[in-house]
Amino acid sequence: MTTPPTRTDPAGAAAARPGRTPNTGQRGSGRRTSAVERAPWLLLAPFLALFILTFILPILAALLSSFTKVTRSGLFGEAGITSKFAGFSNYAQALADGNFVASMGRMLLFGVVQVPVMIIMATILALLLESASARWPAFFRAAYFLPYGVPGVIATILWSFMYVPGLSPLIDIAGWFGLSPDFLGPSTVLWSIANIVTWSYTGYNMLIIIAQLKAIPAEVYEAAKMDGASPVKVALAIQLPLIKPALVLTTIFSIIGTLQLFAEPQVLKTVSPAIDSQYTPNLSAYTTAFAYNDYNVAAAQAVLIALVAFALSFAFLAFTNRKSS
C-alpha cells in the first residue's frame, strides 16, 4: 500500500486537539453545551483515528480489491496492465478453486471435532480446579495455562519432534508394541494439528471459565450445601448454567480461531508432505496473495473467510439463544 506518510496526519492532529478544548469551550453557555457534546468525540478521536486507519480502512481496501481485476497484455504484462471493476468474478474464481473450498470443508470438520473437545476439557478442568477439594489450584491453573504462553510456531516445532519418525519417542514406544503410527499422513495430520491447538488453547479457555466461576456468589453455594446437593449436582445444576456466557464466548472465539488457523499447518508443512499450500483458508489466501501474486482473488478469499466466520458465530449464538428461551 503506497501511502505517503503525511496522509496519516489526522491521528496526530486529532490527538493534539483535546488540549485546547477547555479554552474555547468557556466563551458562552451555547458553546458550552456544544463543547460538552463534542468532548467525548474529541477524547475518542485518537482511538477512532487509529481504529479507522488500521482497521476500517484495510477492510475497505480489501473489499475494494476483491472487486477489482487486473488484466495484462503481452507475455508478462509488459505491453500494458489495466485494473477495472470485476463484479463478483474474483469470488467466483475463489469458489471455483477446489483447494480453497476443500480447505473450508477441512476446517469445518476440524472445528466440529476440536472445538467441542477443547471446550469440554476446559470446562472439566475449570470445574475441578474450582471444586472445594482441589489441591494446589493456583499451581495447576498456572500449569494448564502455560502452553498458551508458548507461541504457536514454537508449539508446533515442539510437537513436530513428537511426530517425525526417527525423532519421536512416541513412535519408538509404539514400536515396542508392534505399532507404527503415522502422525503426518494425509488422513492423520489434521488431528495432529488439532492436538497442538487443543494443547495450546485449553488452558486459556479454562481461565476464562474460571473467571466466570469465581463470579458466582458464595450464597448460592451455601444454599446448595444447605439443601444437601452433591458436588456433581452443584456442577450440573448451578455452575454449568451460570457459566453459560463464558462457554458461549469461548466457543465463538474457538470457531473464529479455527477458521484462522495458519501458523501450525504452515510450520508442520516442512515435515509433512500431506499439507499442501492451501491446507487451511488462511494459508490459501496467503499463498494466493504472496506466492501466486493474485491479491484480488486473495482479498475475495479473505472476505469469504470473514463471512463464514460471521455466519457460523451468529448461527451458534442463535442456536444457544433459542435453546435458552
Binding site: S65, V70, P273, T287, F290, A291
Partner: protein, 445 residues
C-alpha cells in the same frame, strides 16, 4: 466569513485521508519500472547496495568486494529459501514499494517476478557486456521478451550419486539408461533396497526429468504463450514412473534429503540418488557414508533427450525499486563470474554449480575423499552442465503450476496416474494463465 466547525474540519480531514489511503491501495505491481527513465550512476558517491539471499554466510564474500570497492558497499540480508518464505517476503516488500537492490531468485520464478513488475531489465544497464562469461542455456533462462532479468548465480546439473557396494550385491553398476535403472531397481528390491526416491509432494524432480527427455512445456509466441505438457517426452517420463511406483521400484514414502532419507541411505536401503551437483554437500551428511559413494552420469531416456538436466539453480536479479541498478549489476557479475567471487562463494556459502563457463571454482578441481577419491566435479558434473535441454523455458506462475502438479501427484497413492495428473494439470494451468489475463493456447500438433 462562515466558520468551519472543528467537527466539520475533522470529518473533512478524515474523509480526505481515507480517500487518499484507498487510492494509494491500488493493486500492487501494476506499474512498470522498465519504461521509466534509467537511473544514471553517480561516480565518486558512496552508496550501499542491499542483497537479500538465502545463501548462508554471504557477508564475508561481499566483504571481499567491499574491500576493493570502498564507494559501493554491499550489505547482505539473509531470507528464508524461496518458497519457504523468501519469495513472499520479496513480493510483499515490492508490493509496499520497497525491497532490496538485489535478490536471489530461481530461474523458474523470474517470470513470476516479471508479472508483478518486480525486476529491472538489465539490458538497459549494459548486461550484454557480461553475457559472454556465462553458460548460454542459463543466460537464456533469465532472458525474456528481449530483456535480461537476472544474472545467473548457480545451477544444478544432474547426475547420479550411488553406493557401488550396494549395487554390486546384485552385480550392477550405475545404470546408463532409465530402462536399465528399472532392471537394477527390480533386482535391488529383492535385497530390500531402493534405487531412488520419487517425490510426490514436489514437482521439481519430475519437471527436470521431463526436460531431460526433451520436453518443452512452454514457449513464447508473438500472440501469447503456447503450452505443451502432453508431448511424447513428458508422457514417456510419466508412464515410466507410473509403472515404477506401481511395481514398487521407487521409494515414495519420503523425499531425498529428508530425515527418513538420511536414515535409509545410511543403512544402505537407498542405493542411489539422481540429483543435482549441489546434492554433494548433503550426501556428505549421511552418517558413515565416507568412501561409500561415487558419482556417475545420470541415466538417459534411450536415444532421445539429453545427457543431463538442471534441477534448481538461481539468478541474482535487480529489483524494481533499486536506486543503483548499474552498481548492483556490476557486483552481481563480479560475484558470479570471477575466480575470486566463485571461489569465495564455494568456500563460504557452498554455492551450486558455477554459471560461468571458464570458472568452476578452485575447490572443485580436485579429487574428493568422501566420494571414493573421485574427481567427480570435473569428471561428471562439468560435462553434465554441457548436456542440457537448451530449448527449455520457464513461464509465469511456475510455483502455482508446480503446486497443481504435486497436488495431483499426491493422489497417486489413491489410484490417479501421473499421466492423468499431467493431462489435467495442463488444463488447470491454462485456466491460471487466463485468470491473470495472459493469452495461452495449446500447441497444435
Amino acid at each position: 466569513m462562515p466558520r468551519i466547525s472543528r467537527r466539520q474540519l475533522l470529518h473533512a480531514g478524515l474523509g480526505t485521508a481515507a480517500l487518499g489511503l484507498l487510492s494509494g491501495c491500488a493493486t500492487p505491481g501494476t506499474r512498470s519500472v522498465n519504461v521509466a527513465p534509467t537511473i544514471a550512476s553517480v561516480p565518486g558517491q558512496k552508496i550501499t547496495i542491499e542483497y537479500w539471499s538465502w545463501l548462508k554466510n554471504l557477508q564475508p564474500v561481499a566483504d571481499i568486494w567491499n574491500a576493493a570497492n570502498p564507494n559501493v558497499q554491499v550489505k547482505t540480508v539473509w531470507i528464508p529459501g524461496g518458497n519457504q518464505g523468501g519469495y513472499p517476503k520479496l513480493y510483499s516488500a515490492l508490493a509496499a514499494g520497497g525491497g532490496p537492490d538485489l535478490a536471489h531468485v530461481e530461474y523458474g520464478v523470474i517470470p513470476s517476478f516479471m508479472m508483478v513488475n518486480g525486476l529491472v531489465d538489465l539490458t538497459r544497464y549494459g548486461a550484454d557486456e557480461f553475457a559472454g562469461r556465462y553458460d548460454k542455456t542459463l543466460w537464456s533462462q533469465s532472458s525474456y521478451a528481449g530483456g535480461v532479468y537476472g544474472i545467473p548465480q548457480d545451477s544444478g546439473p544432474m547426475a547420479t550419486f550411488y553406493q557401488p557396494e550396494i549395487l554390486d550385491k546384485v552385480g550392477a553398476t550405475a545404470p546408463t539408461s532409465w530402462d536399465e535403472w528399472a532392471q537394477v531397481a527390480a533386482e535391488l528390491r529383492k535385497a530390500k533396497s531402493y534405487m531412488d526416491c520419487f517425490p510426490l509432494a514436489e514437482a521439481g524432480f519430475f519437471t527436470a526429468l521431463a526436460a531431460q527427455a526433451g520436453a518443452q512445456w512452454f514457449r513464447a509466441d508473438a500472440d501469447g504463450w503456447i503450452i505443451n505438457m502432453t508431448d511424447d517426452a513428458t508422457m514417456k517420463v510419466a508412464r515410466f514412473f507410473d509403472q515404477a511406483i506401481d511395481q514398487d521400484l521407487v521409494q515414495t514414502d519420503f523425499g531425498a534429503y529428508s530425515p527418513g532419507w538420511f536414515a535409509a541411505a545410511g543403512k544402505g536401503e537407498i542405493a542411489s540418488l539422481t540429483s543435482a551437483s549441489w546434492g554433494d554437500a548433503l550426501v556428505k551428511g549421511i552418517s558413515g557414508g565416507a568412501g561409500k559413494w561415487k558419482v556417475a552420469a545420470m541415466p538417459r531416456w534411450g536415444a532421445s533427450g539429453f545427457g543431463s538436466s538442471y534441477l534448481g539453480g538461481s539468478a541474482v536479479s535487480v529489483l524494481a525499486n533499486s536506486r543503483h541498478p548499474r552498481e548492483s549489476l556490476e557486483f552481481a557479475a563480479w560475484l558470479t563470474s570471477t575466480q575470486q567471487g566463485v571461489d569465495a562463494e564455494i568456500e563460504h556459502c557452498g554455492i551450486g554449480w558455477s554459471p560461468a563457463t571458464d570458472v568452476i571454482g578452485t575447490a572443485r578441481q580436485q579429487p574428493s575423499e568422501f566420494f571414493s577419491g573421485q574427481n567427480y566435479n570435473q569428471d561428471i558434473f562439468a560435462p553434465a552442465a554441457l548436456e542440457q535441454n537448451t530449448q527449455w523455458s520457464w513461464w509465469p506462475s511456475q510455483q502455482q503450476s508446480f503446486n497443481i502438479l504435486s497436488d495431483g501427484f499426491r493422489f497417486k497413492a489413491s489410484g490417479t496416474s501421473l499421466v492423468d495428473t499431467v493431462v489435467d494439470a495442463e488444463q488447470k494451468i491454462m485456466t491460471v494463465f487466463k485468470n491473470s489475463g495472459l493469452s495461452i493456447r495449446k500447441e497444435s500438433a
